[in-house]
Subunit: 338 residues, 2 copies
């Protein structure tokens, strides 16, 4: 594999390392990936996260495994295992299916490496495509609210929603960013705040529970969020809390936009009800990391994602187009994909 | 003062102690209150919290101070200081104004002690009154969602919203309780979960960001929350996150009820815009207690409360009446108070 480098993934001299995102923002710890099993564990633990990055990282792990000399049987088993590491984001399945097609066509290590490089490079380009599309929507003096992390840590490039925000700020259209902390795993408080700080973008952190008040105060001109899977009718899954934010944005008349690359669109999935939602351990709600503040005996609800119906979407920002919400339910995505 | 005992406040042999709520659920630490300054610090640190309990505790602290032999001047200064310990909840001002009236009428330590006892005893009765009013609304098989803590820890009695939930469960009308964890200070995850566990009430904890999904799934039949101040037109302040929950309940057609004693109604406050909202330190958003997970350099928004307009209220449950939302804007509260 050629050398690759993004904010949270690196291939150098054929060796794959990832930035352990569970240790951000205080520790920037890079972890050498030992093999596909290790990558599965890193994805499940959210050390590697972000729908596009998971796909890129799984492809790179499989290519590195092939380059280590293992045969087709072991590669197919590793691919199947990687493909199921997390159930909601479709980019992982999409990337693994690309790698699977190379394998099925008799491709060896070099072909798999080339495919993983392509997945990486295309993701970088898709990010710029989304940002360019978003820029066409932005007015002046925009203040954008976002949820979770959809930036350089979530992709191989500048990000989806946060990449668009970055380019919007660089273009002088966005003047301030509000970041939901995004309980339970605090991707906003830890990761988005860290990225915005590194980029020097003026921002304010808030708890998820404060977003409605912020919208009511008229401080937000637009909500931009990422997506883990977009169904054929435009319903989309994203980090839990996104749906509530969409309801609140609609109530306050604030435009609401998911931002996603084409690799996140799953035309085989007719609507949001068909998207599998990952349930995670209740300890993530009873505390954070090693810390606990709720009684161990209290059961907790912990869906990692929720589904926002396309009826609440002002427009979906893709790398290749901006699709108005009202067209999503009328098959606009199938036409774009055809 | 006579002996008094509630879940989080105790007077024994004239000595006032409070349960330090910042240390729950793992440590049940009682703190002897040294005097009014100490009580102000305990209120500001949220060791004593809950709109009704703050009023009760401040009254008891002033009475204990009077019983220690200090004179009128020092008592008036202590009263003024206690009255401003927190700005949003009106019960504190209400209780202090009662104590002030006794002082102004020339009352001494015995009269102040009697007034503090009355404030305590009335709060206990008001809680039962709210629960009785709420019971009239409940159907069978109800699953109630609540925010923050409005139980025995927030009052001298069984609580406001959580007291109504408790009696509803005892009556067999409520079968399950969902508790928002209530960032940033986690009163739901720490305190409501602890109370529900002690009472043996079946419950599930969730992050604030999951409430919309729960409502969409049809798992909640009713939302009950406390209030820190109810304006004359029925707009009310409560823990931040309440307003967003009201928007979501309305979107899903789920009845939404603030539950408050008459001491929380502020007829001098025409509407929600006139309620002062306390802003707290950003470190509460960048972490919890001693723990930090967000960059110290990231500014944070931290309003402790938000205001829900009466237009989003299905009905307001008081100790003396249930007032339909549509009547709140037409002066129903002024008539009840007249």
């Amino acid at each position: 594999m050629k050398d690759l480098r993004s904010l949270a993934l690196e291939v150098r001299d054929g060796r794959l390392r990832i930035l352990d995102q569970t240790r951000l923002p205080f520790d920037e710890a890079w972890v050498a990936v030992e093999g596909p099993d290790h990558m599965v564990a890193l994805i499940r633990a959210l050390s590697v996260r972000g729908a596009p990055l998971i796909g890129v990282a799984a492809a790179a792990a499989l290519a590195a495994f092939a380059e280590s000399g293992v045969g087709g049987e072991a590669l197919r088993a590793a691919l199947a295992e990687l493909r199921q590491a997390r159930p909601t984001a479709v980019n992982l399945m999409w990337a693994m299916d690309r790698m699977g097609a190379v394998l099925a066509a008799g491709g060896g290590a070099a072909a798999l490496a080339a495919e993983a490089e392509a997945v990486f490079d295309e993701d970088v380009a898709l990010c710029e495509g989304m940002a360019a599309q978003a820029l066409g929507l932005l007015g002046s003096g925009e203040a954008v609210l976002t949820h979770c992390n959809s930036g350089g840590l979530a992709t191989a490039g500048i990000g989806t929603a946060l990449g668009a925000i970055r380019r919007g700020w660089e273009a002088g259209r966005i003047v301030h960013v509000y970041a939901d902390e995004t309980r339970p795993l605090l991707q906003g408080g830890r990761l988005t705040a860290w990225e915005l700080g590194k980029l020097g973008i003026p921002h304010t952190l808030l708890t998820d529970s404060m977003a409605a008040l912020l919208l009511r105060e008229g401080r937000v001109t637009r909500v931009l969020v990422g997506a883990d899977r977009v169904a054929a009718n435009g319903d989309f899954a994203n980090k839990v809390g996104t749906y509530g934010l969409a309801v609140q944005a609609r109530h306050h008349g604030v435009p609401f936009h998911p931002v996603a690359p084409w690799s996140t669109v799953d035309l085989a999935c007719p609507d949001g009800a068909a998207i599998p939602i990952e349930a995670r351990d209740g300890d993530e709600v009873r505390g954070y990391g090693p810390w606990r503040w709720a009684p161990a005996a209290s059961p907790a609800y912990n869906p990692a994602f929720d589904v926002t119906p396309s009826a609440l979407v002002t427009s979906l920002i893709l790398d290749r187009a901006v699709v108005p919400g009202e067209e999503l339910g009328r098959g606009a995505l199938a036409k774009l994909g055809g």
